[in-house]
Symmetry: D2
Subunit: 144 residues, 4 copies
């Protein structure tokens, strides 16, 4: 069985439509960049985060601290790390760096929910096939 | 029974995140403005365009000619008119005006499709409850 | 001189393009809703947050806790409150409610920066004409 | 001097936030995909379409015909071709294909405009450094 996965890094270039009238990436896009890194993490673990017939993985919390703006054509790295795995939630930290300099740091917690037509979403344990593919980074390895 | 509906106009203000690095509304947003006007049209007719269990209303064509840019805080009107109703499609024209001046003109055709899990979408006639609420504008009344 | 402003509430309907493949509003949109409420707050104070020749107001931090999903056509309220005013930053809290039930709670801090072509953004005090229009809500009045 | 460039193809994967409540890519995104292919085309020609101090390249027209939906995780190709070069405009056609099947075909015309603060945009000839890098595809080579 292959090793459990704890982190992933994507390289990504800023697109024109992601910039706002101040000429910098609109802050809402950083959350999408973090989601793209999460997607890469799940893929590298061999699992998909696509909503299924009865399960979905909505976000229950997300945050970002913005230090330096990103601009059109900037090529940056988004590194995501699993910091905690609980029965019904997984928490990440994320670092966006441009030319080695941290542009922004984020956090995100995703839940596993059961979908039933006409019913409210209900938190439910992640399937083993998913959590068995992941492990949190050791506290000492997580980026500050 | 109430009168059939042929057109609708919404007033809308440009949001910050809709502008791009050139300081004007990114062209992809005009298509969303047109969709918002379409939504208002359907609502005024007492029907919803929300996807249902087995029906959805995807776009099969859309176009825009852009004459004048829109900028942050601009308050413009989007007027949509039904130009043709066919069994399985409805076609619109749309005019965006800012202070009485045409900023852009668009067209859009929406289809009615049958949804079946695992199957390709299949065009199907619009339900009577929908088409009976609409009628095309007389050719002479449509904006040039 | 008119009273200083501390909060604003907007009513807003979920648009089709704001929903994702899970059928709920994509979490990145909540940050845009919060920004729309902030815009209404500044407008009600008679000031604009549009970037100027030499000043802009980028976000330095933003977060959301998501409790209940929003869906297509939902009409919700976004209430923003100023919780702290410092020389170079303003901090907000934000509550999104649907039918009286809290859907999400957010925070956001915006900075005032000086723009000079080819130079990095540099934090600078907010102009008096802006800060004199605002005041933080009394701690006892802020929503939990 | 290197050869003039007439077309480019990018491979792109559908992102979660690009899908709407019907589970398919929202039609407004196709226009952004086309813009991404245009960006790749300009880059391959060694020129940038970033707005400059006094020049920008806004769109004057754009259209799409949608044949087959794209869904989350789909990996598709977007191929853009220059079909006409005029003094102040460049026109493209674009084909999006998924597994060899055409999902959508688009067109787009971009103009070169002069920017002057407080003045309306004014169409102006493309700089030689840009047009000298491009040529239209021969009519016989353009995709139907």
């Amino acid at each position: 069985m292959s090793t459990r996965v704890s982190e992933a890094t994507i390289r990504r270039q800023v697109r024109f439509y992601e910039c706002d009238a101040a000429g910098i990436v609109h802050f809402s896009w950083f959350f999408r960049y973090m989601e793209e890194a999460e997607y890469a993490l799940w893929r590298s673990a061999g699992v998909s985060n696509a909503p299924r017939k009865d399960l979905a993985f909505p976000r229950v919390a997300a945050s970002f601290d913005f230090r330096h703006p990103l601009r059109y054509e900037d090529e940056f790295d988004a590194r995501i790390q699993i910091v905690e795995i609980r029965t019904k939630t997984i928490s990440y930290s994320c670092h966006l760096t441009l030319a080695g300099k941290v542009a922004a740091t984020g956090t995100m917690t995703v839940a596993c929910v059961h979908l039933e037509p006409g019913q409210p979403m209900r938190a439910t344990p992640f399937p083993d096939a998913i959590v068995d593919r992941f492990e949190a980074v050791p506290a000492t390895d997580s980026q500050p």
